[in-house]
Amino acid sequence: MASETMLMMLIVLPFAGACFAALFPANARNAETWAAALVTLGTVVLSACLFPSVATGTPVRLDIEWLPTLGLSFSLRMDGFAWLFAMLVSTIGFLVVIYSRYYMSPDDAIPRFYAFFLAFMGAMLGIILSGNLILLVVFWELTSIISFMLIGYWYQKADARDGARMSLTITGIGGLGLLAGVLLIGHIVGSYDLDVVLDSGDLIRSHPLYLTATCLILLGAFTKSAQFPFHFWLPNAMAAPTPVSAFLHSATMVKAGVFLMARLWPVLGGTYEWFWLTGFAGAMSLLLGAYFAIFQRDIKGLLAYSTISHLGLITLLLSLGSPLGAVAAIFHMMNHATFKASLFMAAGIIDHESGTRDMQKLGGLFKLMPYTATLAMVASAAMAGVPLLNGFLSKEMFFAEAIETHADSILDTVAPYVAVLASAFAVTYSIRFIHAVFFGDRPDDLPREPHEPPFLMRLPIQLLVLACLVIGIIPAVTVGPFLHVAVVSVLGEETPAYSLAVWHGLTVPLVMSIIALAGGALLYFLLRHYLAHCEEGPPYFRRLKGQRIFERVLVFVSWRGAKLVETTFGTRRLQQQLRLLIVVALVAAFIPLYNRGFDLGVLRWGQTDIAFGLLWMVGIACAVGAAYQAKFHRLVALILLGGAGVVTCITFVWLSAPDLAVTQLLVEIVTAVLILLGLRWLPKRWEDTELGRAPLGTKVRRGRDLLLAAIGGLGMTLLSYAVMMRPSPDSISEFFLLKAYEEGGGRNVVNVILVDFRGFDTFGEITVLGIVALTVFALFRRFRPAPDTIDSPEQQRIQAATDEARSDRISGQTVSDYLLVPSVIMQWLFPVIIVLAAYLFLRGHDLPGGGFAAGVAMSAAFILQYLAAGTVWVEDRLRILPVNWIGLGLLIAACVGIGSWVFGYPFLTSYSQYVDLPVIGKVPAATAILFDLGVFSLVVGATVLMLIVFAHQSIRRLRAAKISTTTMEEIV
């Protein structure tokens, strides 16, 4: 297999495995483990197989174009450093999978666990192998999101939810910072490609944006690696299942931050700013993490703070800007992952077997589980930096670097003391862990009787501890070559000479180590009684809880702050919102005109037409009248609105737009009917007799609204006049005119545009129309009329009363005879309008008309029946099923579109031909007409559906009356 393919497989395999794992039934614990173990083992093998290619010194690369115009490509790149990390991640992943089989309870949702676990592994490998910085950020965010799922795995527990949310918030903010930083780097370098960026170190460091970019990238790295002051999410993330902690908080998630710092170290590192930023955060994390770890009661809490401390050590090493420091940092990343993963798993075993992780409750477990105890002791010794273990080696290198002077400053001066103090603390908490858990009196009140775990649960720890020992004793033979490849890939020509020997003679670092070991042991001896009974958390710092501060901030930002913003700047009143919208629209229109200048054009009289002027005098009167009457005289306003619509319609005729005129006229009719049907449900309103004596505040408000309306109206007048006075620029319209007949087979260009040239747009539009109609239908199912509108309308009641009063009339006769002659005519018009609709439809391609107009006309035919004879009468005789019309219309339109695929053309390519039919003559037969048929059907369905649901409301009263009478009868 080619190296590139293997590289791709390395990313694809975990994600594919995650999808596969999610499909298992909930109780398939063994099958799940097998699958996950195979996947992780596969990544181990793939990584191992890639070593020969990587060892040559040139990175293995795979580039797939993604968005080349944005400089984005899906590039994978593996050099020695990435290889080392990939190996670490996949090996520890494999071991944790085996361990999880025994740790997870059969009641847990195992498929969800393994699916997220494998996906997380894929995302982490993605970070490591990304050859493009943007791709790296994508995978980075993916780890944040999936770790949220994993930390909150036991979502029924409040602390799991809180911990997950906190880690997502903190690392998510960091991720955004990282994205911004990466964009800046891309801006400086001109490429997001990692190789290009790594070659542009001098350019980046001398750029004015260097500090900003560094701060943003470090924000991402510090949040991810839980560095001070963002460290507090990590202890809270311990609510995760222990296998998750063992994986995320030893080898992967938190290592992503230091990985990134090391990756970009050749580019960003070595400056004074870098030294201070990373050095301060690293030193603080190193010291505080170790100090806090001493005072934890929870084993996992201790390990979490220890992780913060060790990551601080790595950060501090990277801050120094010396190649030897970078070597030590890379080496310590590996060593920490090995011993910390094994310690987390040991903590999980203790928890699993004894039922608690509280070190004040535990004790004397050595006798019950000697193997586990021995393993944990060796791993703890590695954590404390005891000689002959791997932790000792990297710590020695750290001490050697700490005493060197790199940048003359106070931070550099205190570095050796900080280093020794933190190491002493590390010794203290390591001894505490071992002593409190495995020695001393065995308590009687443990929730469970502890015993050794199954062999396979211990095996992963055994292997890791073995690695600690082997690396610690013979480092140069075992890990040396791999480390060297990794170091060379980061440092290149700067790679210093370093020695991985255990014994360097009696050097200053060795003396420091001895002081730390002795001091740490002494400190534990002094503190042991206090620690056995103290409260959770270190003295004095106990009260200062990062978590509390975080939650306060969160509450303030997401609740109080948001509320404050809402009450200060927001309104729930629609009028204010609409007013704001109008102002925004006016300003948005004004700004470009102000900036670019506004020229009204020449005021010339040109073509004068008195009739057109008169027409618009009527139109303007109608518009203003409708505005004036809409509050108290709704019917008048509706008629005036119709008047304005008719004037618009005539304008279309006048100005060569017959299609628009036809459609406008028909829509006008349907809209009027619709609103008429709705009027009945609105409350009655009588005009104020005291009009003109409104309070001053109201007058001022009306004045302001009028001003806004006047500005808007005037603006539209000026704008449209200015446009109309200019000659028309070249547009694609010419193309449509030239090609309509030749290629669309139709003479009516507007129709050809709709159903042929821009058929896809029309397809979208009719879909919208169908959705709106269904929404109207759905909303009306929830409609409950207001109580005062349920009774029959006043006019009907008066007429009914007249019938009652006169002996020669039957009650209800007047109402049923209402508009007798018009309603007979309307019934007779039914076939006539259908013929009209068919006519409009058929001529549409060549003459004004078409599917839209025909559809609206057809629906008018239906609604006239409802108006003439009433809902009940019509529905007894005619079943319209408008929803079927909608579906059929969409189906026809889509099938016509898809049909062109059959002939190898793109979607909605139309074909036209004139057919000679006997008797009728020459008939245009374009596939576009079939598409228009779909449009027609859908418009009929949508319009009729909307009209019918309105019309149906009138029989609500009858139904309600029927229900009430039947209940009355039942009672009687």
């Binding site: 009143r573 009028q575 609409l578 109008i582 009289w605 040109g606 073509q607 139109g619 518009a623 809409a630 709704r634 306003a637 509706l638 609105l641 304005a644 619509g645 304008t651 100005l655 060569s656 737009a657 299609d659 628009l660 406008q664 829509v667 619709l674 449900w681 609105l682 409350p683 806004l708 109206g713 539209m716 704008l719 449209s720 006049y721 446009v723 109309m724 000659p727 319209s733 449509f736 005119l737 309509a740 003479r747 260009v749 507007v750 545009i753 539009e765 709106v772 109609a773 109207v776 909303l779 009306f780 409950r784 009329p785 207001a786 109580p787 004004p848 839209f852 909307m946 649901v949 309105f950």
Partner: protein, 113 residues
């Protein structure tokens, strides 16, 4: 002159609509929206410049584009009319449901204090 007339017409339609949009009763808002949609449709249509008796219905033979009105704004406005009708219907039903649920035809669903 005919341009000025139409421009004034558009201005009054939109102006009346804006006035109604800011009124408190739902019915006023629906009338306002309809008036604005007339104005905006005419505005878009006017982008093709105003010419009489040249509908974009082509005859056979050689075609001179200058002999016909611009069909593109017309096609845009045609769909706008139909979609405008649909949104009017949607707003009408929201208006009625709101009236039924709250008992008030005020835009905020309750009478101002």
């Amino acid at each position: 002159m005919i341009e000025l007339t139409l421009a004034l017409g558009i201005g009054f339609l939109v102006g009346s609509g804006i006035w109604l949009l800011q009124r408190p009763r739902t019915y006023q808002v629906i009338v306002g929206l309809s008036l604005i949609s007339y104005g905006v449709n005419l505005f878009i249509f006017s982008m093709s410049r105003l010419r009489s008796n040249v509908p974009p219905v082509v005859s056979s033979g050689a075609i001179n584009p200058a002999d016909y009105a611009d069909p593109l704004p017309q096609a845009l406005v045609l769909t706008a009319i139909v979609i405008g009708f649909a949104t009017t219907a949607l707003f009408l039903v929201v208006l009625l449901v709101s009236r039924g649920l709250t008992g008030s035809d005020h835009v905020d669903g309750r009478e101002p204090n």
